[in-house]
Symmetry: C2
Subunit: 516 residues, 2 copies
């Protein structure tokens, strides 16, 4: 795609066609500048079949904000829309609408509230709240979902992989299997959610993290094809990178060739005063090979050299590897902790594509519309009360218990102050008879989660750094119950409605002929 085409395809036309036809309809009906509110939320945690997530990590906001501030309907976009014809050969978009779009079709009238990136988030809570003229807020839908759905998905996957890796160094290696340019968003989200570094050179540069990597099989193969040996390739690498020497040891045979050759080269480095860094294992039984490699490295006096693992890793595979090492290392005369604490995980495909559940079902639903200076809640009845979006303008709060652990997210009407309720009633979102009641002594803190990002199109939010986001993520994950954090069958975190929100929703459902 050439540069001009890219500007078209990644500008404001990065949207579904129906947003534009609906915008024209709103224009024609005189509804286009009515203030509307849309909530963005997801309905379910990623579900990997054998295991599902118990929490998500929010990500993607900054890139959305940057895009919203930059794009508009350029003359060439308008010219393109003008060329659309109906089946009967007439113009699909009328001139008066296109004139309005050219003058007003940007996001400068939008107010946006959101949960900061890096924070732990849960289903059916508003992650992003958009208010603005109906037409512009409608046009924003597709790009907003596109920017946020994927980064939340990958930040969440990275957090799970970090959890299963017991805090060992985690490297994002997935570029080549990513969904084309999504590779960059994926690297960013991985860094927010749990990866320490990425192999992606350009994106690491942009985000200010040193990119990481070892070398490929092809390097060893090239030496072999030229009549040299694996150790010649390793020596060359050690010569050029004496202080960064990480060697891929499985091109020929890991235990019979790769590791012994690496050790020879490491000994040569040591004699010259350098500290070798690591070996990488990219095939075979990684737990068994890690133990054996650790033993060989220990025996040669390299107890600190890292063992980088790669090859279709994810949270379950890593869990299997550490479990197997814990059980088997003693048999080979190695302390399991010595092996596990030197592991580095290079996670590619299964992180960057969130393999097993490769999309997050984030949605963007109209929840209110302003008519003659009165906000009217909007609703759409779905199969179940839980799937029916929560109507109206709302606030989202996190309730911490007496130990300081997050015990529930509470959605209230905007004007409510949950601290004023004693006791605080938490209504189950779907089941009429289920509710929790918290006395003030059971609550250590009630935290509002949404922050102002755009107010009437003006950016009022201080965009945090990735490091800030990581601190938020760590703190939020630490405040989750271990049951919610676990990899398999996590406890269900409570997302509750206030009594007033429950009542409003109930009333609207009944008015539309719905019920329990």
């Amino acid at each position: 795609m050439n540069t001009a085409d890219r500007a078209t395809a990644e500008g404001i036309l990065f949207t579904d066609q129906y947003q534009l036809t609906m915008a024209q309809l709103y224009f024609r009906m005189g509804l286009h500048e009515k203030e509307a509110q849309f909530d963005h939320f997801f309905r379910d945690y990623p579900d990997y079949g054998a295991h599902g997530a118990g929490y998500c990590v929010n990500a993607g906001l900054e890139w959305l904000v940057e895009w919203m501030g930059r794009v508009c309907f350029r003359a060439e976009d308008i010219a393109y829309l003008r060329s659309h014809k109906t089946r009967t050969g007439e113009s699909l978009f009328a001139d008066d609408f296109l004139d309005w779009l050219r003058a007003n079709g940007d996001f400068s009238g939008i107010s946006l509230r959101a949960i900061p990136e890096g924070r732990v988030v849960h289903p059916n809570t508003p992650l992003t709240v958009v208010r603005g003229p109906l037409a512009q807020a409608q046009i924003l839908e597709t790009a907003l979902l596109n920017f946020l759905n994927y980064q939340v998905l990958i930040a969440t996957k990275a957090a799970r992989i970090r959890e299963s890796g017991r805090g060992q160094l985690l490297l994002e290696f997935g570029m080549r299997r990513a969904h084309e340019r999504g590779a960059n968003a994926g690297a960013r989200a991985a860094l927010i959610g749990g990866a320490d570094y990425s192999s992606n050179a350009g994106m690491s540069h942009v985000l200010g993290y040193p990119p990481k990597g070892t070398h490929a099989h092809s390097m060893v193969q090239a030496f072999l094809a030229l009549g040299m040996d694996e150790i010649d390739a390793f020596r060359a690498y050690a010569d050029v990178y004496p202080d960064e020497c990480s060697l891929l040891v499985d091109t020929i045979n890991t235990l019979e060739s790769g590791v012994p050759n690496a050790i020879k080269v490491f000994e040569e480095l040591r004699r010259k005063g350098h500290r070798p860094v690591g070996v990488r294992l990219d095939s075979g039984d990684l737990a068994y090979l890690s133990i054996r490699a650790a033993k060989l490295l220990n025996d040669a006096g390299f107890p600190d050299v890292s063992i980088v693992l790669s090859n279709n890793l994810d949270e379950l595979v890593i869990w299997q590897i550490t479990t197997q090492i814990a059980e088997e290392a003693h048999r080979y005369g190695v302390d399991p902790d010595n092996v596990i604490k030197r592991l580095v995980y290079g996670v590619g495909t299964r992180l960057i594509t969130s393999a097993g559940d490769s999309s997050l079902g984030g949605v963007y639903k109209l929840v209110a519309i302003n008519d003659s200076n009165a906000w009217r809640p909007a609703i759409k009845i779905s199969e179940s009360r839980e799937k029916t979006p929560n109507p109206g303008n709302k606030e989202l709060w996190r309730i911490y218990d007496e130990r300081g652990q997050a015990t529930a997210d509470l959605i209230t009407l905007a004007e409510e102050d949950p601290a004023a309720h004693s006791p605080l009633i938490l209504r189950h979102p779907a089941t009429r008879v289920k509710r929790r009641q918290l006395e003030p002594r059971q609550i250590s803190r009630i935290e509002p989660l949404l922050v102002d990002v755009f107010v009437d199109g003006k950016l009022v939010y201080d965009l945090p750094t990735i490091d800030d986001m990581r601190l938020l993520r760590r703190a939020d994950v630490d405040r989750l119950d271990p049951g919610v954090r676990r990899l398999i069958n996590p406890h269900v975190y409570h997302v509750s409605l206030s009594q007033a929100l429950w009542d409003l929703k109930d009333e609207l459902i009944h008015a539309l002929g719905g019920g329990d």
Copy 2:
């Protein structure tokens, strides 16, 4: 990501860091300008668990070609690389290497052969063959795989969905759930592989196809929240789009409200001389609702109005829907064919993410290196003979049987002419004792599949249009055995080695100590 950052992250630094460190090593060893050959291929068809693909559709080449012709190491990229430090605080990249990279670090020395986009392709055959200086060919790896893996994956998924949809109109609706900017590549690949149109406005513009869509629930909701009814929303839509009137009928209740209201509006349109286009069903039992909606539409005299289906469709869901309609329609007094022939499939998430198998494992392997004007084959032994890449410079042929059906893809050494062999021996790639033998009378055509794209960096390939690619795809799919095309448990298409290639591979495997 702002524009400058985007230029960095999507330029030549769109690569893994280790490609750059290996390039420096080759430079230091004086190997960087040795001619090398890398083959790009995938090892396995996408496997969706309950069902796997029996063929793939090639896609992605044009965007790779455009990128290769455009990117280079800009001054700012070099400045960035110069800032990299080792653990001991020295420069990771030396000045002489960076000078060389600035002057030579583009793809103007690369020759590239490839299979055209739209063609049916199979595992373990070279889809793309790169020849050029070792350093540059190495740096190309990550971007090449990134560009091609995803588009092949999505073109293949689209072909399967088209197959299960019995040729009915197929619309790509997945932007909002795509992996960020991968949405655009995904829309393109879907159009190559089997989708007729996409909802993606910008990408449709760039590719010259009219974008398609209906309207969202939010439009109806907005009318409801403002005190109006579903039919008011439908009427407004019909007023603005009298010749494009497709109505989403499930916001309140499909059969009790949506379809009857749509029919009223369609009748009004008809009286004004317009032809209503369709209704869209986005929830519930789509097969049952399609039958009932078709009956209501027929009874009202609209036997040609389309029924657009959406909501987590994929090839199995569509197969279920058409099967169920075929079985049940008669019970409601409707001809199943009348229902099935008016269906349009709007496929989103599960197409654009290839849900169930969201990555293609394409790899890029060194297969030969030129040393003193002699090409030396390179090999890397893997767990199995099948996984071990085929060494050396090769040619790929498609063999058509006496009926004109594709019966095998044959990989030979470059200098071989399979037409000269009588009989033609097709060696099984993994199993020593398995082989096929074709007499000349059993062969109607032997077609070379790779075409020259870049010769020494010069583009010599006339890039086909998407329409051309679709014709290639249709012709290739038609020439596949129905067993290979089927959705569940397809026949395994034969990918064979020539005797000479088998012998070379065997010899190299034994030289490295491998065997069967």
